[in-house]
Symmetry: none
Subunit: 242 residues, 2 copies
């Protein structure tokens, strides 16, 4: 699905932004890049900023006319950080992700990005079914071109991942946590030693017990951490009995 989304950069001024766009796309799994009348391209700067996404650049197609770049596309979206009064519906990147999900029959999909200084022209925006507006600081909305591509590609990837119900990528092999029984044992040990140092000889005894119980539960203590705490408590007892 991400293969069916074409990023179209129109009249890009800085070749570094083209390279950074290639990297931004690849890191989110997008691969189709179209360049309409780039000011300087190919360029060593583009290649350098692409890092290891040079394949996206070498497969990029350069067009002289934006109509050719989007000729086969069935859903066309224009990116903007400004809201303009235009007939195309204005959506957030997150809403766009939903729209793309609903338009799997309308592929390929093109997302257009205008020149760095002034964005898409009115003529270009009139080609679009939707206008995607990235929320920014109203006092400083100067989002870098490749960063805009990054944010849109990120939302596309999230939508895609949810669609595919990808297996959890974030399985971590946490060290095993102690059992509730071990936790009770640890808490009892703390209380015993607190008694021996005289710390519980106070009206606040119940409050201290509650705080310790809450703290030890919340800490999600592992086996090895339990051994450290137990060892410390034993060392206190040994020191006190000497």
């Amino acid at each position: 699905m991400l293969d069916q989304i074409k990023i179209v950069l129109s009249h890009t001024t800085h070749p570094g932004n083209i390279g950074a766009t290639a990297r931004a796309m690849k890191v989110m799994g997008l691969s189709k890049l179209a360049l309409v009348n780039p000011a300087r391209y190919p360029s060593a700067e583009a290649t350098e900023r692409a890092s290891k996404a040079a394949d996206i650049l070498s497969n990029a197609v350069v067009y002289e006319d934006i109509h050719q770049a989007i000729a086969e596309c069935r859903l066309i979206v224009g990116a903007s950080v400004r809201t303009r009064s235009l007939p195309s519906r204005l959506v957030t990147p997150r809403e766009l992700a939903t729209i793309v999900e609903e338009n799997l029959d309308n592929i390929p999909i093109a997302i257009l990005f205008g020149t760095e200084n002034s964005g898409l022209t009115n003529d270009e925006l009139h080609l679009c079914h939707y206008q995607v507006y990235i929320p920014t600081n109203p006092d400083y909305s100067s989002l870098n071109l490749a960063s805009a591509v990054q944010l849109i590609s990120y939302e596309m990837r999230l939508a895609f991942s949810e669609m595919q119900q990808l297996p959890e990528q974030r399985v971590i092999t946490n060290e095993q946590r102690i059992s509730r029984e071990q936790l009770e044992g640890l808490l009892a040990h703390f209380e015993k030693v607190m008694g021996e140092t005289g710390y519980l000889n106070t009206d606040h005894r119940k409050q201290i017990d509650n705080r310790m119980s809450r703290l030890l539960s919340k800490a999600q203590i592992t086996e090895s951490e339990n051994r450290v705490l137990r060892g410390f408590l034993s060392s206190i007892e040994n020191s006190l009995s000497r």
Copy 2:
């Protein structure tokens, strides 16, 4: 609220990335930048890439030690594109936005970003309450540093915008967590008492220190819990000196 989120770049190699980070932050309304041992800074390249976000750069504070950079912070998050087996909870940027919303009492908040090539070190990750994992293409996860900041800042801005619309939904009753500085103080107190009971007279001293550091970070200790632990440690010292 966005003012209370501090972006901490540790050991950044390329000054261009520092400038691009400043721009990425400002465009989403973030302003607090901390730099820990940047390789080359200040730098004309950083200033150029910052575009009109030079104010973020001129207000950025440079530290030699990450502990100083996060001393006053009460919620600490590490950014990573890899999943590692660590005790801190792994969350997506979107989940992080929710967590930040729920932690309005635990400000300032620090989000740490490691060096370009290898990310945060294990020692740095051990300072974190959460690890935020940006979903990427498993075959190419080389997300640019400033792009990572851009994505996280974007999610923070969205959460902030939503909060502005729905103030009644974010009633927070959490007790305030201790600052990193208080946590370091607590850890030092533990180590001092462990020294006095003879518990640290072992080859495993470094391992014990690491476990305690990890445990205390993970536990998200509150002010009142801190007082209980400090009181207990003082009572041990008093008992030993009798």
